[in-house]
Subunit: 142 residues, 2 copies
């Protein structure tokens, strides 16, 4: 039940972009350097975040990425789902692939998986990038 690097890197990259949100476009290279993430790998991930509409890009010199929404409107759930797919613990309660099990007995556990899924969702859909940014800025003040 671990998150893969995709989700973790994605959160870090988005947070990095959020912290430089007032400086125009942020180059992939600088994100990768600051976050110490492989540039070519991160490129893939950001590409998916772009297709999901979470960041926008500018090509060419001085290009890069910036958030396409206010920080308060980007939830960690949106980021994680883009990169990890549904965070459901088993396929039969996944939001995207509603795989139905033939097992009759397993369905008694379905409620359990639903509970787990929903409890995860309730966290990731309420925490936004703004919350994380605020926390960093509060730490810096001290």
């Amino acid at each position: 039940m671990r998150l893969s690097t995709r989700g973790r890197y994605g959160i870090r990259a988005m947070l990095d972009i959020a912290l430089h949100d007032n400086e125009g476009y942020v180059a992939l290279k600088s994100i990768a350097e600051r976050q110490n993430i492989s540039e070519s790998y991160l490129e893939q991930l950001i590409g998916e975040l772009r297709k999901a509409g979470l960041v926008m890009s500018a090509r060419g010199a001085q290009g890069g990425y910036k958030l396409s929404l206010p920080v308060s409107q980007i939830t960690v759930g949106a980021i994680l789902r883009t990169l990890e797919g549904s965070l459901a613990p088993v396929d039969c309660v996944s939001e995207d692939s509603p795989f139905i099990c033939g097992q009759s007995e397993e369905c008694v556990t379905r409620d359990l998986w639903l509970k787990i899924r929903d409890s995860i969702n309730s966290v990731i859909d309420t925490v936004t990038l703004k919350d994380l940014v605020d926390k960093i800025q509060k730490n810096e003040k001290k």
Copy 2:
């Protein structure tokens, strides 16, 4: 963030044993057949559940497994953790391997991972095998 077959099979196997709890020891073979799980694979898993003290075994003819605790005292959390390890979404908030990240910035996300972890734990540590058994028996009545 999917559970592997280990956790899912483990829950099903334990539930199977629970449903036959009054019939003495249940043979691995019969569990595997009923649950349609590879016998040799399940053997591994049940071995770990035994070492964790969740089931007890009897060797030799007429041997098998039975629960070593009342159904109401076996949480799905205990089963899942035995087979999957901590259900923490990232290592730095894992109960067993308290890996500490050097990344200073990542620590702002630590609270997020903790929230996710705790919300999962609050579900799996409150649901017991008894809850699942009760639900099955209620379904059968209808």
